[in-house]
Amino acid sequence: MIQPLAIEVSNVTVAYPNGHIALRDATFTLQQGTISALVGVNGSGKSTLFKAIMGFVKPISGSVLLAGKTVEESRKTKLVAYVPQTEEVDWTFPVSVWDVVMMGRYGHMNFLRIASAEDKRMVNESLARVGMTEFKDRQIGELSGGQKKRVFLARALAQNGQIILLDEPFTGVDVTTEEAIIELLRALRDEGRIILVSTHNLGSVPEFCDHVVLVNRTVLASGPLEDVFTEDNLNRAFGGVLRHFHFESSTIQDHDGKTVKLLTDDERPLVFGKDGHLEYKDRFGREELVKKRKEEVGE
């Protein structure tokens, strides 16, 4: 009997050797076919949770189950793929795009790591999926920020990871590539994988995540985006870190077509409506939500 894919984190507490408790009593569950955001400030335990899921740290209490198995058991099936932060990688390393993606296949190869026809096919297919085929012979340092991200995503695909962990996937990535990556993540979700994205970039979360895990030394809330991503919860998770721009009585007139334009230099802004509900950029694809809101206020 094959267990359905899921991440079950129950009452996990992680302490570092110096006695510092990085995470206390964290509990959440992710089902297959979701894109989930792991949101919290720096030092809130996001990377500790990642490490616990990958089995790099051992919780002093609680358990992490992947598809019903312990992390150690599931490692044999190469279930978890990790896409590192851009800063974690040594880009001067003499390896090509092809070499890096092939590293995703190592776990599937024999003792000597000699690539089979199947390995090569998977690498080609993964490169094609992220649109990096023409760059396959480039040294990795010669790529742009977005291309670098795509290479490591291709490695996760080549590994055939069913649980894909991404660490800050949109830092240093231009807007077009960001859209392309989001598109790809959606396609992966629709194949039934679990995508878990660690980020402190709040504005991007409503754009592509359907599930949110809010962390601050523990899991504060976990659930569907609309339920968890509220002003109250975010204030709890971020404390005084967030900068608020409250348009108390804004100058928008009806003849402006009720349109506001927000400019930021890098990260996407997160916009809440009057009652603390999330605002989205487009109505397109969210007709249900618009209808629901209309009914709520009795329009």
Binding site: M54, G55, F93, P94, D99, M103, Y106
Partner: protein, 296 residues
Amino acid sequence: MTDLLTPFEYDYMLKAILVSGLIGGVCAFLSCFITLKGWSLMGDALSHAVVPGVSLAWIVGLPFSVGAFIAGILAALTMGWVKKKSGLREDAVIGVVFTSWFALGLLLLSLYPSHLNLKTIIFGNILAISDPDILQVLIIAGISIIVLTMKWRDLLLYCFDEAHARAIGLNTSFLHFLLLALLSATAVAALQTVGACLVVAMLVTPGATAYLLTDRFGKMLIISTVTGALCGVCGAYASYFINGSTGGCIVVLQTLVFLLVLFLAPKHGILSLRKLRRQTTQTMPQSRIEKSGCAS
């Protein structure tokens, strides 16, 4: 013409040339990992830290390489332990530990002279290498080559992205230890050729040279190994004519090759970078220059 062949008429020269070439090649193979992993200082430390092992092995009657190898590993473990317990920076820890081990070695060697005298250990004396010592070098080199050719891909992944290596089930603690063990073993093998002081050059320079010449790790391994072996052979050969220290000849030769490559390498050489910069300044605005500088 016949003058050029005279070194080959002497048995000891022939042995010296061949052993130098072999050790040069093995060290150079390993140097690709050492330079990329950022372990150059570690290589220097281990090559000095093996010295007390030579003396202790002599006292208890073991082959010198066994003692030296164990001393190297112990020194590496001490460094790891001190670093963890003290919270000092790595360079400080290496500095403290390797000098203590080296000092202990000097002390032991002065108190209990072994078959290798202090000068041989520190500066090398390949011309006087004995047959049993050649056998030890052959065994170390053979094992190192076999392990490296079988496991280079795993070691590469470990050096490049440890987290991924762990995530797909590679035993990274084992790979870490394996690299340390290979480093100690080759440092021991190179001890008699160039001496403890210059071993680090054999373990770094060929890798650094090859790095400037290619962007592919596979090619880097080949270029580095060939350079290392050729410098070993040619250096030992040349030392006959100039009547100089063999170790010195080998390392000076390696350095000359490195300097040549540093200036003339087709892509990463100083001259071609300068040329590229000139071209971009002529055709592109300021921002583009920064970029091409980063890319190379």
